[in-house]
């Protein structure tokens, strides 16, 4: 992990309030595991004091570039969306423990499930799994048709299903509706998205190999502030904890209380 300046190469609005930004800099040399994130200072002043944790959606080591994908919703991410190509960003990263792709091999089948702004880190994941010869099936959930993004990017790597809550695109309902319908066979499930979705997946596949990437409000991103702690399952005393930023954001299902 390092703190360095990265240059914005491009910024594109790819769905309603969803932006994809390409960054270039030496920090990319340190990126490898899908599911890690960067912690960005969006302004040098105090308008927003804390950094913003943003998922890495694609790593291109050869060109020292990476893509980050975020939803412009709060003050910080709206400021980020106003940045222009050529602007420099103060970036801390890569942070967190991502998905382990090493335990899957040629012939294995990975089920990848994403919800909303949890979808981006799964794109680099499927890229790396497919590079290893792993077969991937993707199920993506969004609110509505205008919120759908990366459908084609995922479809390039394997079967891709989309659910929207209002039914304006793909299956009506949640990712779990799709999963009940298609009942895909899989060796390992990887998921990132809102906590209720992660909880539903944990309950749906209690005996499977499941990895969940959590979202949580963060302060420092390096494990010092104790803002993003969660309880452990099977901890009667309740003193044990994991920090989403440094112990996660990816956890094995059943490890932490969702």
């Amino acid at each position: 992990m390092k703190k360095a300046w990265m240059t914005i190469i491009s910024q594109t609005n790819i769905a309603r309030n969803i932006y994809e930004m390409t960054l270039e800099g030496e920090l990319v040399d340190l990126m490898s595991s899908p599911g890690q994130f960067v912690h960005i200072r969006v302004t040098e002043g105090f308008e927003t004091l804390l950094r913003r944790p943003i998922s890495i959606s694609s790593i291109d080591k050869e060109n020292r570039q990476c893509k980050i994908t975020y939803r412009a919703e709060g003050k910080g991410t709206i400021l980020l969306a106003m940045k222009q190509p050529g602007d420099k960003l103060d970036v801390l990263g890569p942070l967190g423990n991502g998905f382990t792709v090493e335990e899957l091999h040629r012939g294995d089948h990975a089920l990848i499930v994403g919800g909303g702004i949890g979808v981006p880190p799964l794109l680099e994941l499927t890229k790396q799994l497919n590079r290893r010869g792993v077969r991937t099936t993707h199920v993506l959930g969004f609110q509505s048709k205008e919120d759908v993004f990366y459908k084609n990017e995922f479809a390039y790597f394997g079967d891709t299903y989309v659910a929207t809550v209002d039914g304006t695109y793909g299956t009506e309902g949640f990712v779990t509706n799709v999963l009940e319908e298609i009942q895909p066979p899989f060796t390992t499930l990887f998921a990132c998205g809102p906590t209720p979705m992660l909880g539903a997946l944990e309950n749906l596949y209690p005996d499977k190999n499941v990895y969940l990437s959590l979202e949580e409000r963060m302060g420092c991103g390096i494990g010092a502030c104790f803002a993003c702690v969660c309880h452990l399952q099977n901890d009667p005393q309740g003193y044990s904890y994991k920090k989403v930023c440094t112990d996660g954001p990816v956890f094995r299902a059943g490890e932490v209380v969702l």
């Binding site: 703190k3 200072r41 105090f46 804390l50 010092a224 104790f226």
Partner: protein
């Protein structure tokens, strides 16, 4: 002798900069980023007799030029701090200031007695000002008589000098400071966070699960400066100042106000390298203003000027 060195009760500081309690854990995360030996001292996370998980999340909320936190004194408890955290820090040549917290006076006494015996703990910081716990904490720091009592009890058992951390959430901070000085405290640290709240417009409820939280960051610096300016003229024990310090200029402002050393808190969350950066820049900023040694800056805003710094610049 370095132009930044300062001697305070129990503390032989190579420079006046230290990370503030609760903003640096027990140093492990930062030890991966830089050599902790550059720091003047380290104020470790508050330690209670028993382990504490702290408050439910969300525990932080950003504010204009600051942040609210309601962590709730999460820590592994006295036993683990003694057996795991302090030995880890003993590998560094940095004096440790152990922040001591509790719900009852007996808790403070128990933790103070044991933790002050650790070889690398050179001073205690008595946390009678945490706004995020239901019992203890701030309740001890807002009443001069109670503050006197807990300070005196801890002084009786502590093997190292005792600094007491003041709450800004009081009507008359000097009254509390003087009571603590009378009780035998060796120094003061100030200020802890200001009690605050933010409300989510979507849910209509406070953002923090705890409801209220402690405000820190640049937003509170003027409050801290005013309080240190006032208290440093009333007491004769030294003050370690804190509240929104981000830069070497901020450090000098604190020293001018009357602090003898300065702790950096929230800024560690924004830039984990902020302490070494400030330590590097401080001599230049100080020389620019015409001072040769950091001690010349202390209380400059109110002391009778024996010589005018600018004429020497």
């Amino acid at each position: 002798m370095s132009c930044l060195s300062i001697k305070l009760p129990g503390l032989d500081l190579k420079n006046p900069i230290m990370p503030a309690s609760g903003c640096f854990g027990f140093g492990r995360e930062f030890a991966k980023l830089y050599d902790l030996n550059v720091l003047g001292a380290i104020m470790i996370k508050a330690t209670t007799a028993e382990p504490r998980f702290g408050n439910p999340t969300p525990r932080v909320a950003e504010t204009n030029a600051g942040m609210l936190n309601a962590i709730g004194l999460q820590n592994p408890g006295l036993e683990k701090v003694m057996s795991e955290e302090l030995p880890f820090l003993a590998d560094y040549n940095v004096p440790i200031i152990a922040n001591v917290a509790g719900s009852l006076i007996e808790d403070y006494v128990k933790v103070a007695k044991e933790i002050s015996a650790a070889p690398n703990v050179h001073a205690l910081e008595l946390n009678i000002s945490c706004p995020n716990v239901k019992t203890g904490g701030i309740a001890f720091g807002t009443d001069p008589a109670v503050a006197f009592e807990v300070t005196k009890a801890v002084k009786e058992v502590s093997k190292v000098p005792v600094y007491v951390k003041l709450s800004p959430n009081v009507a008359n901070i000097s009254e509390i400071a003087l009571a603590i000085e009378r009780a035998g405290a060796d120094g003061l640290t100030m200020i802890n966070t200001l009690l605050g709240m933010r409300i989510d417009l979507k849910t209509g409820r406070p953002i923090l699960a705890n409801g209220t939280g402690g405000l820190s960051g640049p937003a509170i610096k003027p409050v801290a400066i005013r309080m240190i300016h006032e208290v440093s003229q009333k007491v004769s024990i030294p003050i370690i100042g804190m509240g929104g310090v981000q830069s070497a200029e901020d450090v000098l402002e604190y020293l001018f106000a009357g602090a003898s050393a300065v702790a950096v808190g929230t800024a560690n969350f924004v830039d984990p390298f902020v302490c070494p950066t400030i330590i590097e820049e401080l001599p230049y900023k100080m020389h620019e203003l015409g001072f040769e040694h950091i001690s010349e800056c202390i209380g400059r805003s109110w002391k009778q000027h024996a010589k005018i710094a600018y004429s020497r610049a």
